[in-house]
């Protein structure tokens, strides 16, 4: 096999890798969907914004708990409801709310991103 063919074989292997990586990541993320709720060092209950989703999308917290939304995505997001509006939360930034009442919220930039805070 000539050098040119070897180079193209490597490039083809890269393309195959990309073709396989997408479905593999989708399966991996589906397996992670039921991850347990985590807390931040300050005791806040964490909702992660990643992959254009709030995780967990539905969160049950006791009244008076503090919830922290951590943007670990590549795009800015918002946490917007009738009672709360975070403004733009840039990648790497976060937003906290002390929850007294349940509310449903969404990202105004990506309306398919929705979440619910339920108070137990």
């Amino acid at each position: 096999m000539t050098g040119g063919r070897v180079l193209w074989a490597v490039i083809v292997a890269l393309f195959v890798g990309f073709a396989v990586a997408g479905p593999v990541i989708m399966v991996r993320d589906a397996a992670r969907a039921d991850q347990p709720v985590t807390t931040a060092p300050g005791g806040e209950i964490v909702v992660v914004m990643t992959d254009l989703q709030f995780r967990p999308a539905t969160l049950q917290v006791p009244a008076g708990a503090t919830v922290l939304w951590s943007n670990q995505d590549v795009a800015p997001h918002t946490v917007t409801s009738a009672s709360e509006d975070s403004g733009f939360i840039d990648p790497g930034a976060s937003f906290t709310v002390t929850v007294d009442e349940p509310f449903a919220y969404a990202c105004t930039l990506h309306p398919s991103m929705t979440g619910v805070i339920e108070v137990t």
Binding site: G4, R5, W8, A9, I11, V12, L14, F15, V16, F18, A19, V20, A21, G22, P23, I25, M26, R28, D29, A30, T50, D51, L52, Q53, D73, V74, A75, D90, P91, P111, S112
Partner: protein, 146 residues
């Protein structure tokens, strides 16, 4: 290695906007590719350039479009890839995986096996349609704010 962080820093925090621009450029170049390929495969007489010139433009375009597509795909795979809902995101992932499968098939035939295979026009057309599907399931939403 934080690929997403690297590209976010490189684009001054505007990674999504750069991806939108790059994806649009790649889709436009894919359209040019189809026209040029149709010219040197003798399917049509436009644009009015020689088959040799059309082949040169086709190769040059490809060398610009492919690295751009690879970088955009890399930032997708390292960043937001994974969700299977909403349907738009699922379709985007399917189109992206299919696109690189077709690219692998095309360049295996063209560059590794070095055959002027009769399937190449179909693979090239599929590439254009898949680029269009990727554009429609990403940039269109970004532009329309949907």
């Amino acid at each position: 290695m934080d690929i997403t962080g690297f590209f976010t820093d490189l684009t001054g925090g505007n990674l999504l906007l750069w991806k939108v621009v790059a994806t649009t450029v790649v889709f436009a170049l894919a359209g040019v590719q189809v026209f040029m390929a149709a010219r040197f495969w003798g399917v049509n007489a436009t644009p009015r350039i020689s088959s040799d010139a059309a082949a040169r433009v086709h190769r040059f375009n490809g060398r610009v479009a492919l690295p751009l597509a690879v970088v955009v795909a890399l930032t997708c795979l390292a960043g937001p890839a994974g969700p299977t809902s909403p349907t738009r995101v699922l379709l985007h992932s399917i189109f992206g995986a299919a696109l690189f499968g077709v690219l692998a098939a095309k360049f295996t035939i063209l560059r590794v096996l070095r055959r002027g295979d009769r399937w190449l026009p179909y693979l090239g057309s599929a590439l254009f349609l898949l680029f269009g599907g990727l554009w429609a399931t990403s940039v269109f939403q970004y532009v329309t704010g949907g």
